[in-house]
Structure formats: C-alpha cells, structure tokens
Amino acid sequence: MSPCSRDARLFWILSASALIASGLLLLILVFLAKESWPVIQNAGLSKFMRSDGWYPTEGAYGLLPMLAASMAMSALAIIIAAPLGVASALFCRFYAPPLISRMYRWAIILLAGIPSVVLGLWGLTVIVPLILAVSPPGTSLLAGSIILALMILPTVALTTEAALAAVPMTYWQGAAALGLSKEATILRVALPATAASIYAGILLAVARALGETMAVLMVSGNVVQLPSSLFDPVRTLTANIALEMAYATGDHRASLFVSGLVLTALVLALAAGARRSGGQIVHA
C-alpha cells in the first residue's frame, strides 16, 4: 500500500472515531430526551415543578423536594469543604514542614481516589450512628453533607494548591520588600490573586456534589420531603433515580429520565460557570 493511501485511510479512521466520540454527548442527550418525552407529552413539564409530592405511579411528579434536598446537601457540603479545603492548601504550602506537607498532600490525593461507595459504607457504619445518638434517625441531610464534604474537599484543596503554586515569585518578593508578614501576604496578595481559580474549584466541587449518587444514597435516609432540619432524612435527585430505576416502568420511568435531564442541566451550568472563571474540568 502506498504511503498516500495509507494516510488517507488513517485519516478516515481517525475522523470516524472522533465523530463517534464527540457524537456520544449528542446521543446521550437525544436518548435522555427520547425517554423523557412520553411523560412530558402526557403530563407536561409544569407538573414537575408542582408541590403535590412525588407519587409517580399516580401522576404526581413534584421534583421540588428532591431538588431542594440536592441543593441543600451540596450547599452544606461546600460550606464545610471550602474553608477546610482552602485551609488545607495553605497548610500544605506555607505551614507544614516539607515531610508532613508531602504526606498530607498524598493523603488528600488518596482521599480523592476513595470510591464514593466506600465513603458511603463508612458514613453509614460510623457517622450515621454518631448522628443517631444526637437526634434520630441518623440517616440525614447532615450525614449526607459530611460525607459529600469529605468527597469534594480534595477538589477544592488541590485546585487551590495548584493556583497558589502558580502565583508568581515576584509577588512574594514584592510583598517581602514591603515588609509584609507571611500571613498578610497570604491574605492580601496570594488569595486575592488566586480568587478566580479557587472560585472555579469550588463550583466544580459543587457540581461533583450535585451529581454524586452512591454516598448520598447510602447515608441520607431517602425520604421524599422538604428538609426542615439538619437531622431530617432526605432524598436527592440522584438517589431517587438509583432507587426507583430498578422497577420503574412507563411514565414513571420517563419521569426519572426527566429528573436526569434536570440534574444534568444543573451540573453543566455549574461546570460552565467554573470554566468561565478560569477553571478546568478536573479529571483527577
């Protein structure tokens, strides 16, 4: 075979692969829409935003309690994880002795790699009984938030640390020349300079929290209700899909696909926000 025709064939194979890979997203969206369509046609989208509860077999598709639970849990998780994550990054970069810093960083990376189902297992057997001792039933919004916080903390810590590492040396020298203390430099120079990246990291972490299923499913009790306290059991959008998909049929099944679409829209909006403020989709 001549080199030219070989190259032409190579190009076609590559193009076909790229077409499949980039068409996959479209295929996923099309299939989600296709599977959702029956219930949208029968019931209309407005039904999903009504507050008459989630009884999909009886035609009541109120997603609001679960949407609220998802958002509340993610918000709470990031309220816990963001300060801890940023402080972890500061600790790692500025305070820890080199050896401890290395070990700590290694621990954070390992934490990022722990499968969510393992975190869920640990949450259910360790955290939930502790919460139960304070206020039953233990499986609750709080338990879900704590486990989620543990899960997304590495995202915040690692993006913050990477951003701090990228602060130009001249800033530090300039601050030192002005006689600023280390803390003053961190607070007034380093953190403001990296604010956009930290913010992007936080948005990505929230997106991850919203999309997380297993850990949340295992520790948060799965009762469809608007949470009124930290100790209420709640069901998130993701948990709902995982719980009911096994047996759902007809419009019920279709309504789960609608909740999947809603979830995807939320997560992608956050990821887009993160991208715009200079963050990158963190693959690790």
Partner: protein
C-alpha cells in the same frame, strides 16, 4: 500612612490575625487528616481480618454475608475489559486526530474538545440512565457485562482522550517535521515514533481511566446488574465489586464485615493502579527531559 499600619507586625491586631490564620490552617489540616486516618483505620480494622486468599477465591454465601468475592472480581475484570477494549482504541484515535490534525485553537478541535469536556461533566448516574436506555433496552443487551462495560466506556472516554492528547502534544514537533521532510507518511511516524514516545503518558491516562471505572457504582447498578454468580459470557449479568459493596451495605443485614473486606480489596487495587499511573507519568516526564 494609616493603611500601612495595618501591615505592621508590631501592631497587636496584625499579630493576632497572623496567629489565628496559622492556627486555622493547622486546625483544618488536623481535622482533615483526622477524618482520613479514621476512615483508613476503620477500613483496615474491619476489613483486613477477612481478606485472605480464600476470600478472593471463593463464591459469596448467604447473599454475601460470608464466603468470598471470586465471581465479583471476575465480573469486575470483565466489565473493565469491555470498557477498555472499546474506549482505548476509540480514545487513542480521537486523541491522534485532535493532536495531529487539528490545531489547539482551531474550530474543529475546540468543538470536539468542548463536547468531551461536557461529556466528562455529565453525572455518572445520568450516564447510567443512558446506558440502560441505549445499551440494555434499545440495543437489547439486557442487564449484562457488555452493557455495563459499554456504559463505563462512555464515562471514561473523555479522560482517556484528554490525557492521550496532551501526551501526544508534548512530543516535540521536530520529529514530525523531519519525518515530513523525508517524505514519510503520518501513519509511519505515528506508529514508530510519536506513539512509542508518548506511551508512558498514554498508559498513565489508561490507568486513570481504569481507576475511575473501577470506582464507579451508580452507572453500573442498572446496566450490568446485581447477579453475583460467576459470569459465563459477556451477555450475563455480573456484579461489579463496587455494586457488591453497595448491596452488602444497604440490602443485606449483617453484610458490613464483608462489605469492608471488599472495600479494602477495591482500594488496594486502586492504589496499585494509581501507583503504576504515577510511576509511568514520572517516567514520561524524565524521558521528555532527557530527549530535549
């Protein structure tokens, strides 16, 4: 003049602020490290006692409360095999197109890249929904190892492509130019030079993808299913190890002990895979430096 006093070390307010920031950093680190060690300790404490050769090589008994995880490991490996066998060639080819035939700032490359980044952001449970609707129902694969593996392939494709692409882009242009100047085909230079040079980076990306796939649960629950028998073919339902942990925790009273043991096995596998990935990435880096 007044502002500058705020930075003054001797001012008691500044000194207090400096001290409290330092304390906060140590305190946060202590909490995080404490939680992490607690988690690790629990995993080892509950799991280590049960993990032995018998556990790895026997079948689960009484819904997994006792017995081992041999069929679960087999299913996990088969699902991974399907996912990698599909995603790796597809990912490699797409990455080659992105790095060799499109410019980073070019329209086509940007569009493919954007669609991959969006795909990477889709929650795994939603990928699972798609897998169920497309592979299980529409293609008629049912709850099977094949359907689960294909679903995971969709999930890890973006990370495979992005790591492979960046690995290839790091190969210096001089070899492409000299090959071109010698009238050689792009296929030859790719196969004999570019891909071998980028291989450590490619394998590191592959390992990352395998790690991601192995940790995944949500996308598998309703694509590859729950059946904990030893799979006989790719069309059998098979229970992945992460699904096994989930099932033991949630649906089997008294399954905690074996759940912890399985979790320990899963994490050990992940650490091994991750270690390989890091070592290879380091090697890719040193190789690049020595080649320059």
């Amino acid at each position: 003049m007044r502002e500058s006093r705020a930075f003054d070390l001797s001012s008691p307010r500044a000194a207090w602020r400096d001290l409290s920031l330092q304390a906060a950093a140590w305190f946060a680190a202590a909490i995080v490290a404490g939680m992490f060690l607690w988690l690790l300790f629990d995993l080892l404490w509950h799991g280590a006692a049960r993990v032995d050769w018998t556990f790895l090589t026997t079948t689960p008994k009484s819904s997994g409360r006792s017995g081992g995880i041999a069929p679960i490991l087999a299913s996990t490996l088969l699902i991974l095999f399907v996912a990698i066998a599909v995603a790796a060639p597809l990912g490699l080819a797409t990455a080659v197109l992105l790095s060799e035939y499109t410019r980073r700032e070019g329209r086509l490359g940007q569009m493919i890249g954007l669609s991959l980044d969006v795909l990477a952001g889709v929650p795994s449970i939603v990928v699972g929904l798609f897998g169920n609707a497309f592979f299980c129902v529409w293609l008629g694969l049912g709850f099977s190892i094949l359907a689960g593996g294909l679903t995971l392939a969709c999930m890890i494709l973006p990370i495979l492509i992005r790591t492979t692409e960046s690995g290839l882009r790091q190969v210096p242009d001089e070899w492409r130019l000299s090959a071109e100047a010698l009238g050689m085909s792009r296929a030859t230079i790719l196969i004999h030079v570019l891909i071998p040079v980028a291989a450590p980076a490619l394998i590191a990306g592959l390992m990352l993808g395998i790690g991601r796939a192995m940790a995944e649960t949500a996308a598998l629950v309703f694509t590859s299913g729950y059946v904990d028998r030893m799979p006989a073919s790719f069309l059998d339902s098979g229970r992945a190890i992460s699904v096994h942990i989930y099932d033991l925790t949630m649906n089997v009273a008294g399954g905690d002990k074996n759940a912890y043991a399985s979790a320990l096995v899963l994490i050990a596998l992940l650490i091994i895979i991750n270690g390989i990935a890091v070592a290879l990435a380091d090697r890719a880096l040193t190789r690049r430096v020595s080649a320059a």
